[in-house]
């Protein structure tokens, strides 16, 4: 059915499965069949670690099986629709309708129309309310589901937080329901939904209703079924060490993004950057034991044949054991000393298939490169630079986010100009030539001076580079800020599209004649749509469906993004960008995600918002006193760190000399409840 079409479409290798680590599970009536979906292309979706973790965990269970699917590119979708080929799993090319659950990983708002398209391609009604007992149960998890209201109408269930434990509990809940169905008991779809609502961390939108006041403003979102809890709490895996997944990272047969071994070293972040939703919703910090990281790296490289490993987290240089781990990777792979080589027993002399053809090390891994994709400049030391440099170098990216120290106090990214210059100096001195710097524009209280500070920083970085190399280059990547739920900036009115465009223009003009600085920016039109979705409510389902029906898929892709589709759809629904994105929220206003909990106290977030406006920074709470955000106390978990000693360097209370901090850090002045 599918294979005859594949020679006719672009890049057919993304639809064939067969990756190392792929599974061909045995389906059966006693097993809940999951089709794990990523609503973007295979190239973007395959590397997703969350999906890979669930894929393995579910397939290890006796009551579940899991396969994978990704959004077919437009050429294939067209042919599928023409020939009546439904959404299929890449693993066995099984049609979606043969599964019980279609579960999406949602990490970007602009994929929402793809989600709708894939549900439709799977053969299920796109609206959950229209689905019958034989239709798929459609679920979603991932960072976007902390405000699932815009897509609530399409979803039967939503998962908040870490998936490792809850995926199994959902399987168990549905296995009972499926068994009753198979046995011919009179069960309903509603029974499945109430069973799901009984699992902590699972939100079933159909069991809730938004309540509005006379003017149509949201008052609250309330349960309308006794099975539904008032407040849905996120799930948090207490000990990452118990979940060394993925054990069998998928090795794609064709090119994908992040095509390397990925090992997650910790989850959560306590730096408290106020714009960063990931840092807020994944608290508390849970580090993987350094020994386990070393094992996962060594085993993973051996098994996959990759020559690059990324140590992933929200800020990998913060990992207590980072220098040890990087050092161990580099040293384990170094070629044997010449003395060992000269004994007629060159590498590869012992031919043992089990241990590999060249014996341990075999002079291969010295070519391994280590990347730390998320680095904070204040934790990037010469030590780390030197360790990475011993392996093969990859590009280096720093994210100062704000152009001036004032701006960085507002957003609580407390790295000084000197921290940045110091890190850059370390990197250049160790041989790097190219740097990437990430910034945001449109942050709260931002002035043109702050925006232009980005140009100044970039210029100075190139200047430092010139002391070490002839032609250093710096890529400055600028994104428009989107306020996100469960952050202190959730109340902030996003900059208008025109304002973001103006700020990008300022930078473009300022850097026009700077050799060595390359400016890139995220399209402010796309940022605007992200902003609408990020804090939207249930009224947006009609907008998303409208855009999809008018052909608006792959909106993440600039060649497909079409702002006019969105503006037209909003107008048809009587909604405005002003109200949804540009408007400041008030303290007493109900937010569409108030019935969901990321573990953070709302008054903590409000206080932090006020601190931001007062330009007061907060230290990293991992090594200093608690601000009672709620994440640790609420779940009875402490930050789990592999080392008792903070990593060296930095201005945020983690460095060896507090005297180096350029301004006094404000302590939270009033206890919780104020504001």
């Amino acid at each position: 059915m599918l294979e005859p079409i594949l020679p006719l479409v672009s890049k057919p290798a993304r639809y064939i499965g067969g990756e190392d680590g792929a599974q061909v599970p045995e389906h059966g009536p006693g097993r809940v069949a999951w089709l794990l979906a990523y609503p973007d292309t295979y190239e973007i979706g395959l590397p997703n670690q969350g999906l890979q973790i669930l894929y393995e965990i579910l397939n290890e269970r006796p009551d579940a099986v899991a396969e994978r699917t990704y959004a077919p590119w437009t050429d294939l979708e067209e042919r599928m629709r023409a020939e009546g080929v439904p959404l299929f799993s890449v693993d066995t090319h099984r049609p979606a309708a043969d599964f019980d659950v279609l579960a999406f990983n949602l990490s970007a708002e602009l994929t929402y129309t793809n989600l709708v398209g894939m549900i439709d391609l799977a053969g299920a009604p796109v609206r959950a309310a229209d689905r019958a007992i034989d239709d798929l149960l459609v679920g979603a998890g991932g960072h976007c589901t902390y405000n699932p209201e815009p897509i609530a109408a399409f979803l039967d269930f939503v998962v908040l937080g870490d998936g490792e434990e809850v995926a199994g509990e959902i399987s168990a809940a549905l296995a009972g329901w499926k068994a009753a169905r198979v046995a011919g008991d009179p069960v309903t779809r509603h029974d499945a939904l109430t069973a799901l609502a009984g699992v902590t961390g699972v939100y079933v939108p159909a069991l809730y209703q938004p309540v509005t006041d006379a003017e149509g403003r949201l008052v609250a979102t309330r349960p309308i079924d006794p099975a539904a809890p008032e407040l849905v709490e996120k799930r948090t895996v207490a000990d990452l060490g118990q979940w060394p997944y993925p054990r069998q990272q998928l090795v794609p047969l064709t090119e994908v993004v992040h095509d390397r071994l990925n090992v997650e070293v910790f989850r959560g972040c306590t730096r408290g950057c106020r714009f960063c939703q990931a840092g807020m919703i994944t608290r508390p910090v849970r580090e993987r034991p350094a020994e386990q990281v070393r094992t996962m790296v060594a085993e993973g490289l051996r098994r996959t044949g990759y020559d690059e490993v990324a140590l992933t987290s929200l800020s990998t240089a913060d990992f207590s054991g980072v220098e040890d781990v990087v050092g161990a990777i580099v040293r384990s792979g170094e070629r044997p000393a010449p003395a060992d080589e000269g004994e007629g027993q060159g590498p590869g002399s012992s031919l043992d298939c089990g241990a590999g053809l060249g014996g341990p090390g075999a002079g291969l891994a010295s070519d391994i490169s280590v990347s730390l994709p998320s680095l904070r400049v204040d934790a990037f030391t010469v030590g780390i630079a030197a360790e990475i440099q011993r392996a093969r170098r990859t590009g280096l990216t720093f994210a100062p986010e704000g152009g001036t120290w004032r701006m960085r106090q507002v957003i609580n990214k407390l790295i000084s100009d000197d921290d940045l210059y110091g890190a850059v100096e370390s990197a250049y001195s160790q041989g790097w030539r190219r740097m990437k710097l990430y910034f945001l524009v449109g942050l709260p209280t931002e002035t043109d001076e702050d925006t232009l500070g980005i140009a100044t920083l970039a210029r100075n970085v190139v200047e430092i580079g010139r002391r070490h190399h002839k032609n250093p280059s710096v890529t400055v990547s600028v994104g428009g800020f989107v306020p996100k739920p469960f952050t202190p900036f959730q109340w902030f009115g996003q900059n208008t599209r025109q304002e973001l465009e103006r700020k990008v223009g300022l930078l473009r003009d300022a850097l026009r004649r700077d050799r060595g600085v390359q400016l890139k920016w995220h399209d402010p039109r796309a940022t605007t749509v992200e902003g609408i979705m990020s804090r939207g409510d249930r009224r947006l389902a009609a907008v998303i469906e409208d855009v999809w029906r008018h052909g608006g898929t792959f909106q993440e892709w600039s060649e497909h993004f079409d702002l006019q589709l969105w503006l037209d759809a909003l107008e048809r629904q009587g909604l405005t960008v002003e109200e949804l994105a540009y408007r400041h929220r008030t303290e007493d206003e109900a937010l569409p995600w108030d019935h969901l909990s990321a573990g953070l106290h709302k008054d903590f977030l409000w206080q932090d918002w006020r601190d931001a406006l007062a330009e007061v920074g907060l230290e990293d709470c991992r090594w200093t006193p608690c601000y009672d955000c709620g994440a640790c106390t609420g779940y009875g978990i402490e930050h789990v760190v592999a080392s008792a000693v903070p990593p060296a360097g930095g201005s945020q209370g983690t460095g060896p000399s507090p005297a180096a901090v350029p301004v006094a850090l404000g302590r939270r002045p009033v206890p919780a409840g104020a504001g």
Binding site: E3, L6, P7, K11, P12, A13, Y15, I16, G17, G18, E19, D20, V251, L253, T254, E255, R302, R303, T304, G305, Y306, D307, E341, G346, P347, G348, S349, L351, C353, A355, G356, L357, G358, G359, A362, G363, L364, D367, R392
Partner: protein, 231 residues
Amino acid sequence: MRLRVRFSKLGKVRFTSHRDVARIWERALRRASLPVARTEGFSPRPKLHFGLALSTGYESLAEYLDVDLVEGTIVDLAVLPEALTAALPGGLAATAVATVPPGTPSLQHAVTSSRWEVEVHDLDLATVTARTEALLAAPELVTTRQRKGKDVSDDVRPHLLHLQPQAHPAEGVLLVAELGAQNRGLRPSELVALLGDGAREGRVRRTHQFTEHDGTRCEPLPAPHALERAS
């Protein structure tokens, strides 16, 4: 030391591209812990040399790859095919390995022709046979093709070395063809187009590649093929 490997590419993995297969081999050789020599410089690459590219979507029983190993490496050739196959994804298998002496011409230059099995759908055996005979009888076969974005006319008759239609066990006709590979050669899809109206290309499989050496034709590796034509 240079190893020459023959490998097959069958089933769904046929949809991977030439570049994909190169990447897959780099990883497979690392998984097998074979010490592959690397280029010098800022971004060292393993020294692998592939032969004529196989179009995405075509199967093959006879792909070739040369691998330079680190000086002084000792390997047991007898177990190498099995070990390499274990390190490759399903559908790719190493079927023969031998060392080649230094100075052996590159696969790109040495291979002069390939033998193919081409499924032709939507035409019966009699029609294909008649059209095949007409093609073989023609003194020249001028085809227009694109080269660097321009239309160029080529006589491809010299590249049509052998052509034999036979009944296909499942569907349509199986065409066994030997096509020249050098100087742009002749591609299976172009051959099917030459058959004229109604001919539709089905599965295509390369079964052999040949080199010319002192006037005799031989395969890049003397070892027999491990795999016979499957289904």
